[in-house]
Subunit: 208 residues, 2 copies
């Protein structure tokens, strides 16, 4: 009927598939994301959708990568302008709250990584590996930023970066649950209170 052909248009189509896939997967999960549903939503045939990826697993990985780009753009990029250390951590955490609270247009079902993490944490396969890799990357970045803040004397010298990272991740998992499952409007305020405790500046008795 309407065979689009140019390479540029094909890339655009691929992008539309991934965008729609992110939206569906954030609600139904990466396993619940089906090719037929994707095709119907986009007014395409199943073969037309699958032709861009070959395999559902490859499609899932592409959606995951697309979601990762959204996350980086929404959370990490806005914080890059802030000064390294505590200010950047603060900006990062605030953007992270906004991402979970307002990014409904992109992730109507909440953070796709939380969903995918729980969905695949008990399985094998490339998707699980990709989810675990992304999770580790972001934890490492958080810990590195925390180390900078400690080195700069902005956080107590005895701060354990891995420990604070763990507790930060917990905060955001809980925030996602309170927003999505319990629809609790108090959740962002509670998160900020927890952050105030976790990222409390070092007592000003340092030399520098």
């Amino acid at each position: 009927m309407s065979p689009r052909k140019s390479a540029a248009e094909a890339r655009a189509t691929r992008g539309r598939i991934i965008d729609r896939g992110i939206a569906i997967a954030s609600v139904e999960g990466l396993e619940g994301l089906t090719i037929g549903r994707l095709a119907t939503d986009l007014g395409m045939s199943k073969a037309g959708v699958l032709g861009h990826f070959g395999t559902k697993e490859t499609l899932q990985l592409a959606v995951l990568e697309g979601a990762s780009a959204v996350f980086v753009r929404a959370v990490w990029h806005p914080a890059e302008d802030a000064a390294p250390g505590l200010p950047r951590l603060r900006a990062l955490c605030e953007a992270w709250i906004g991402y979970l609270e307002h990014e409904r247009a992109v992730f109507p079902g909440g953070c796709l990584f939380t969903t995918a993490s729980v969905e695949f944490d008990a399985r094998g396969g490339r998707v699980r590996d990709a989810v675990a890799r992304l999770s580790r990357v972001w934890r490492r970045r958080l810990a590195a930023e925390l180390r900078q803040a400690v080195a700069a004397g902005e956080l107590p010298a005895d701060t354990d970066p891995e420990q604070v990272t763990y507790e930060l991740v917990g905060c955001y998992l809980a925030l996602n649950q309170e927003l999505q499952l319990l629809a609790d409007p108090e959740a962002p305020a509670r998160t900020r209170r927890a952050l105030d405790r976790l990222l409390a500046p070092a007592a000003a008795d340092h030399s520098r």
Copy 2:
């Protein structure tokens, strides 16, 4: 071939279905739990399995209820012997860690409530309502226990029970992720360190 008939045996069969269903659902999710898989695992026919529940949704609710009983037995019951307030909170939290760390025989794929919570948090329906209800019940119990500890002077007087409950839930969501997705053996120690900070006794400058 082997049609069991007595009411007692039927109840036993129902229990076996639920037990197996819990194990499957903790790995595949409540949606990924299929009647055919259940029937194969138990050496039954699909009709025999579904006959006990009528509907997959009813089966999911029964599995959820069964998992709730396991959780109560593993986490709440052991803590009932402890004195109300802080000691009971401590016992509760320690049992909770053990539940996530060692209950692999019952929940091979990690805590079923975490899985179900994320799986249904963006949908409607009775299963989602049941998950949200259980989540609220346990948060309320935690908060009530925290209030007791504050009233007894075991925790600082300005402690916000809902706030601490939120942070406790976050700790256990993070623990589940580190155990299941990242297979990090340090996770329980990190959880205990976080608990030490969250449940630090009030400074002993109180009168009573």
